[in-house]
C-alpha cells in the first residue's frame, strides 16, 4: 500500500496548533497519520486488537500533551512514531509473547496450491519473519520499506545517524532474507 505522509510544511502548522493546545488538531493528525502508524504497529504486533490499542494510545498521548511543555516541537511524524515505538516496547515488556510456529508451518505444502494462497502465505511468512528479527532491524525495515519514511526521518525516529541507519537497513534486509530462507542454500541465520 502506498503511503502518503503529510508535507513537512503541513507538519509545521500542525505543530503550532499542538503547542497552542488546539484539540481539533488531533482529529486532523489522526486522519493523516493513522494508516502509517497502524501499519507500523501492526507489522510488529500480531494481534489486531492490541495493534489498535497501541495506535489509539499514541493519539491519547498526543491529546495529553496538547498545549503543554511536553508537546512535540518539531518532527511531528517522528514524535508519533517514537511514541508508537515506546508503546510497542511496553507491550512486549508486558506480554513477552511471540508466535511459536515454525516457519515450515507457513510454507505452502503442495505444488498445486493456488497462487493467491501462496501469496497470502508469503505475506504471513514475511510478517512472521519480521517479528523474529531484533527490534532495531524490525523497525528500520518497517519504517523504511513499509512506511516509506526516508532515511532522515527514519534516523530521527530511531535516534540514529544517517550512516547508522543505512548500514542497519542493509543488515536487517540480509537478516530477514536469511529468516525467510530466500538465500538459496543458505538456511536461516
Amino acid at each position: 500500500m502506498a503511503l502518503i505522509l503529510p508535507e513537512v510544511s503541513i507538519e509545521d502548522s500542525l505543530l503550532t496548533r499542538i503547542r497552542r493546545g488546539d484539540q481539533a488538531v488531533v482529529g486532523e493528525i489522526y486522519e493523516q497519520f493513522f494508516s502509517s502508524l497502524y501499519q507500523y504497529v501492526r507489522l510488529r504486533i500480531e494481534d489486531t486488537q492490541q495493534a489498535e490499542d497501541i495506535t489509539a494510545e499514541v493519539f491519547l498521548k498526543l491529546l495529553g500533551v496538547l498545549g503543554t511543555a511536553r508537546a512535540p516541537r518539531e518532527h511531528l511524524r517522528g514524535w508519533l512514531f517514537q511514541v508508537a515505538r515506546h508503546e510497542i516496547f511496553r507491550h512486549y515488556g508486558k506480554h513477552k509473547k511471540f508466535p511459536l510456529e515454525s516457519l515450515e508451518e507457513w510454507l505452502p505444502s503442495g505444488e498445486d496450491v493456488e497462487s493467491e494462497t501462496i501469496r497470502n502465505a508469503t505475506i504471513e511468512q514475511t510478517r512472521w519473519a519480521l517479528r523474529r528479527l531484533p527490534a532495531e532491524q524490525q523497525e528500520v525495515l518497517i519504517l523504511r520499506f513499509s512506511e516509506g519514511l526516508d532515511l532522515q526521518a527514519t534516523a530521527d525516529v530511531m535516534g540514529k545517524s544517517l550512516s547508522a541507519v543505512k548500514s542497519l537497513q542493509f543488515r536487517a534486509t540480509e537478516a530477514l532474507r536469511g529468516v525467510l530462507g530466500m538465500g538459496k542454500g543458505r538456511g536461516r541465520e
Partner: protein
C-alpha cells in the same frame, strides 16, 4: 555471498542499496534500478526482492480502514473527559457502590437484635410486661441495640478507575414510648478519590451499647404517655467513615 557485516563496510554498496530502495518507493522496478549498478546486481537483486516482500506485508487497506473507524470511536469516547476523571466509569462505580450499600444494609437490618441487627427490635427490646395499663409511673431502663454503623467501600472491577467511597451510617434513635418504635436514619456521605485502587469491603461496626433511660408516664385516663426517650442512641458520631477511631469495635460477622 560475503558476510553481511563485511558488506556493510562497502560504502558504495550501501549507497547503491539506498538508491535502489528509494527508486522502488517511487514505483520503479528493481531491474530498472539495478541497471545502474551492474557490478552489485547479484547482491542487490535478492535484497530488493526482500524489500518488496516487506512492502507487501503491510496490512491491507480494508483492515486499516476498519481499524481506523474502531479506534476513532474509542478515542471519541475518551476525548470528552479528561483521562484522569473518566466520568462514565465513575458513574458505574457509584452505581455499584450504591447497590452494594443497599444490599449490605438489607442484610444488616435483616438480622435479629441479638445478632446486632434491627429486625424484631420492637418486640424484643420492650418487655411484654411493660404495658401502660399496669404501670402508672415508672422509669424503665432498657438497653437499645447498639448503634450499628455500616461502612461500605465499593468499586467495580473496571480498571483503572477512581475509587468511589460511600460511607453510610445507620443510627437508631429510640423513643421511650411503650411501643418503642425505633426510627432509623441513614446518612450517606459520598467521597470521591482518584486513587486507582479497587477495594470491596463490608464492615459492620458495633460500638458499645449505650444504656438508655426511658421515662414513661402512663395516666389512668388515657393510657398513653407523654414520654420521650433520650435519643442517646444516636450519639455515635464515629459510626461511619472507615471505622476510624473505633478502637473498641468488634466485628461479629
Amino acid at each position: 555471498m560475503s558476510n553481511p557485516s563485511d558488506l556493510t563496510r562497502d560504502k558504495d554498496l550501501l549507497d547503491a542499496f539506498e538508491d535502489c530502495v528509494n527508486r522502488l518507493q517511487v514505483g520503479e522496478t528493481s531491474e530498472a534500478a539495478l541497471r545502474d549498478y551492474p557490478h552489485y546486481a547479484a547482491i542487490l537483486r535478492p535484497m530488493l526482492e526482500t524489500v518488496i516482500q516487506v512492502k507487501r506485508a503491510a496490512p491491507n487497506s480494508a483492515e486499516i480502514a476498519s481499524a481506523q473507524v474502531r479506534v476513532r470511536d474509542r478515542l471519541a469516547f475518551r476525548k470528552g473527559a479528561p483521562r484522569t476523571q473518566r466520568l462514565p466509569l465513575m458513574r458505574l462505580a457509584a452505581l455499584a457502590a450504591v447497590i452494594t450499600l443497599v444490599a449490605g444494609l438489607f442484610v444488616f437490618l435483616g438480622r435479629s437484635p441479638d445478632q446486632g441487627g434491627f429486625a424484631a427490635a420492637t418486640e424484643t427490646s420492650v418487655p411484654a410486661s411493660f404495658t401502660p395499663e399496669r404501670i402508672s409511673s415508672m422509669t424503665p431502663e432498657g438497653r437499645i441495640p447498639p448503634s450499628p454503623s455500616a461502612t461500605v467501600t465499593a468499586a467495580p472491577t473496571l480498571s483503572p478507575t477512581p475509587t468511589f467511597t460511600l460511607t453510610a451510617s445507620a443510627t437508631r434513635t429510640a423513643s421511650g414510648t411503650p411501643t418503642n418504635t425505633p426510627s432509623t436514619t441513614f446518612t450517606v456521605s459520598p467521597t470521591f478519590t482518584s486513587t486507582p485502587t479497587i477495594t470491596a469491603t463490608l464492615t459492620r461496626t458495633r460500638t458499645p451499647a449505650p444504656v438508655v433511660t426511658v421515662t414513661a408516664q402512663v395516666t389512668d385516663d388515657h393510657g398513653g404517655s407523654d414520654d420521650h426517650g433520650d435519643d442517646s442512641g444516636k450519639g455515635d458520631d464515629n459510626s461511619g467513615k472507615g471505622g476510624g477511631g473505633d478502637d473498641d469495635k468488634d466485628d461479629d460477622d
